[in-house]
C-alpha cells in the first residue's frame, strides 16, 4: 500500500454523479479520495486501503449501508463514518447513530456544510492519532510483541500466527 501524507477518504455511494461530485470537492480540499459503488466493494476497499474517513450512503446495492457500518464497527470502533443519505427523518438518523455513525447528513445537502463536517471529523482523527499512542505513546512502549511463531502488532492492529494474519478489534487494542 502506498504511504501518503494526504488523509484518505472512501466514498461508498452508488449514484456515480454524486460520488464524482464529492470526490472532486474533497480532492480540491487536499484529500485523497476513492469511490466504491456498492456495499461489498466498499468493505473490500476499506480493508485494503484503510481510509481515515468513510462517507457512506444507506441505500446501496448488494449490501446496504447500515450493514456495511455494522461490519466496520465490529472491527474498528474509531474510524469516523459520515452517513450521507436521502433518508432524513429523525427515525432514520437515530437508526444510523445506533449503528455507530459519527455524523449524519441528509440529501440534498449544502456543500460547505458537508466539507466542514468532513474537516471536523478529520480534526478528531488527528486527535486520536496524537493521543492513541501512534505518536508519543508508541515511542515509550513497544507496539509489537513476538512469542514463538506469533507476532502481535498493536500499531497496525494485526496479529500473525500459524493460521495467517488476524485483524485486531478495538477491544483487543485497548
Amino acid at each position: 500500500m502506498k504511504e501518503s501524507r494526504k488523509k484518505r477518504i472512501l466514498i461508498i455511494e452508488d449514484e456515480i454523479h454524486i460520488a464524482e461530485g464529492l470526490q472532486l470537492n474533497l480532492s480540491l480540499q487536499g484529500y485523497e479520495v476513492q469511490i466504491a459503488a456498492d456495499g461489498s466493494s466498499g468493505l473490500q476497499l476499506w480493508k485494503e486501503w484503510q481510509p481515515h474517513l468513510i462517507v457512506l450512503d444507506i441505500m446501496l446495492p448488494l449490501i446496504d449501508g447500515l450493514s456495511v457500518l455494522q461490519s466496520i464497527r465490529l472491527e474498528d470502533e474509531r474510524l469516523p463514518v459520515l452517513i450521507l443519505s436521502a433518508k432524513g427523518s429523525s427515525k432514520d438518523r437515530i437508526k444510523g447513530f445506533s449503528y455507530g455513525t459519527d455524523d449524519y447528513l441528509s440529501k440534498p445537502f449544502h456543500l460547505e456544510e458537508f466539507l466542514l463536517r468532513v474537516e471536523r471529523l478529520m480534526t478528531r482523527v488527528s486527535w486520536y492519532e496524537g493521543s492513541s499512542g501512534l505518536s508519543e505513546k508508541t515511542k515509550e512502549s513497544p507496539c509489537c510483541y513476538s512469542f514463538g511463531n506469533n507476532r502481535i502488532d498493536f500499531q497496525n492492529a494485526k496479529a500473525e500466527c500459524h493460521c495467517g494474519t488476524i485483524r485486531l478489534t478495538e477491544i483487543c487494542r485497548k
Binding site: 461530485g21 472532486l24 446495492p61 436521502a86 440534498p108 449544502h110
Partner: protein, 343 residues
C-alpha cells in the same frame, strides 16, 4: 402493553369473532330446544291444544338462525380480506413513498452539488462540460420521475389520448433507441428481427415509448454487470407478435415473476434498504401492453442470471380492427433481414 398486543391482532380478532358467533348459534339452538321441550311438557300436563301454544316449527327457527349466522360470517370474512388487502397496500405505499423520495432527492442532490461546486471553484472547460452533462442527465431523470407519476394518473383514470396509429414496430423501436441512446451510453443494446417481416400495429406513440423507456431503464437500473447488455428480438408466433427484451441484469426468483408487475413492488428487499426505484415501471408497462390488447410477461433463471421480458401483441385482431389498407398489404411480407447492433 406489548404483551397484550396480540389481542388486537386482526387474525386473532377474526378467529375469536367466528368462535363467538358459532358458539352463540349452538347456544341459541340448545336454549330454543330446551324451552320448546319445557313448553311441550307443560302443554301435555295442562292438556292445552298443541297448535295454540307452539305454532312455529323448530326446524324453521334453526334454519333462519343458521342463515343469519352464515350471512354474518360471510360479512366478517369479507371485512377481514379487505382489511388484509388494505394493510398490504398501505405497506406497499409506504415503501413507495420512501423509495420515490429517494428517486427525487438523488438528482436534486447531484444538481445542487455541481452548482455549488461551480460557485466555489473555477473548473477547466472540459470538466465543466462533463459536469454540465451530468446535470442534464439529472434533470432528465427528475422529469422522468415526475412524468411517471403523472402518467400513472392518466393511465389509471384512462384519460390518455385514444390516438392509435399504424406503426411498423421494428423501425419504431430502433428510432426510439437512436433518439435516446445518450441515456444508455454504457449499455450495449442490440435489436434483431430474424424473419425480416414488417410488423404493423396500431400504437399510441406516447404510451408505447413509455413502455420501451421503462423496460430499457430497468435494464440499466437493475444491473450490476460490468457491461450492461440488452437484446430486443422480434418473433412471430402463430397469430401473435412476441418482442423479447433479454438482459444480463440482476434477475429475480421464480416466485417474483408476477409480483414484479404489481403496483409499487420493488426488486430488492425494502427492509435492508437495497430496494430502489418507484415500483411503477413494470406496472405501467403491463398496463400499456393491456391498452394495446397485449400482455407483458417476465422470466428469469434466477438472481444474477438476467431476465427476459416478453411483450405479446395479437396480430390478427389488429388487422380486423384498424390499419390502413396500404399497411395491411405490407404486413407479414418479408423485407431484408434486419439486425442492428448498437453501442
Amino acid at each position: 402493553m406489548k404483551q397484550i398486543k396480540w389481542f388486537y391482532h386482526p387474525i386473532f380478532v377474526f378467529i375469536f369473532s367466528i368462535i363467538a358467533l358459532a358458539s352463540s348459534l349452538v347456544l341459541y339452538i340448545y336454549w330454543y330446544m330446551e324451552v320448546s321441550s319445557g313448553l311441550d311438557a307443560m302443554i301435555r300436563k295442562f292438556n292445552i291444544e298443541y297448535e295454540q301454544a307452539l305454532r312455529s316449527e323448530t326446524w324453521v327457527v334453526i334454519l333462519v338462525l343458521s342463515i343469519l349466522v352464515a350471512i354474518i360470517l360471510f360479512g366478517i370474512f369479507t371485512i377481514f380480506v379487505y382489511h388484509l388487502k388494505t394493510m398490504q397496500l398501505y405497506r406497499l405505499q409506504h415503501n413507495f413513498i420512501n423509495n420515490f423520495t429517494h428517486e427525487l432527492k438523488t438528482p436534486v442532490t447531484s444538481l445542487k452539488l455541481y452548482l455549488e461546486t461551480f460557485l466555489r471553484h473555477e473548473l477547466a472547460r472540459e470538466d465543466q462540460i462533463r459536469y454540465i452533462r451530468y446535470m442534464l442527465n439529472d434533470t432528465e431523470r427528475l422529469s422522468e420521475n415526475i412524468n411517471r407519476i403523472l402518467n400513472l394518473g392518466h393511465i389509471e383514470s384512462k384519460s390518455y389520448a385514444e390516438e392509435f396509429t399504424e406503426t411498423d414496430l421494428y423501425p419504431f423501436i430502433r428510432i426510439f433507441y437512436e433518439n435516446n441512446r445518450h441515456l444508455f451510453e454504457n449499455a450495449e443494446i442490440k435489436t434483431d428481427n430474424p424473419s425480416g417481416n414488417t410488423f404493423f400495429y396500431p400504437v399510441n406513440t406516447a404510451l408505447f415509448e413509455m413502455l420501451l423507456m421503462n423496460l430499457m431503464t430497468n435494464t440499466v437500473k437493475y444491473n450490476i454487470s460490468e457491461k450492461v447488455r440488452m437484446h430486443i428480438r422480434f418473433e412471430k408466433q402463430k397469430n401473435k407478435l412476441c418482442i423479447f427484451f433479454s438482459d444480463n441484469g440482476i434477475g429475480f426468483n421464480r416466485e417474483e415473476r408476477k409480483k414484479i408487475f404489481r403496483k409499487f413492488y420493488q426488486a430488492g428487499r425494502s427492509e435492508n434498504m437495497t430496494a430502489k426505484g418507484s415500483g411503477l415501471g413494470l406496472f405501467l408497462a403491463q398496463n400499456i401492453a393491456r391498452i394495446h390488447k397485449g400482455k407483458m410477461t417476465a422470466d428469469s433463471k434466477g438472481p444474477g442470471k438476467g431476465a427476459v421480458f416478453t411483450l405479446t401483441l395479437p396480430l390478427q385482431k389488429r388487422a380486423k380492427s384498424k390499419g390502413t389498407p396500404e399497411n395491411r398489404k405490407n404486413e407479414g411480407k418479408p423485407e431484408k433481414k434486419n439486425s442492428d447492433h448498437r453501442r
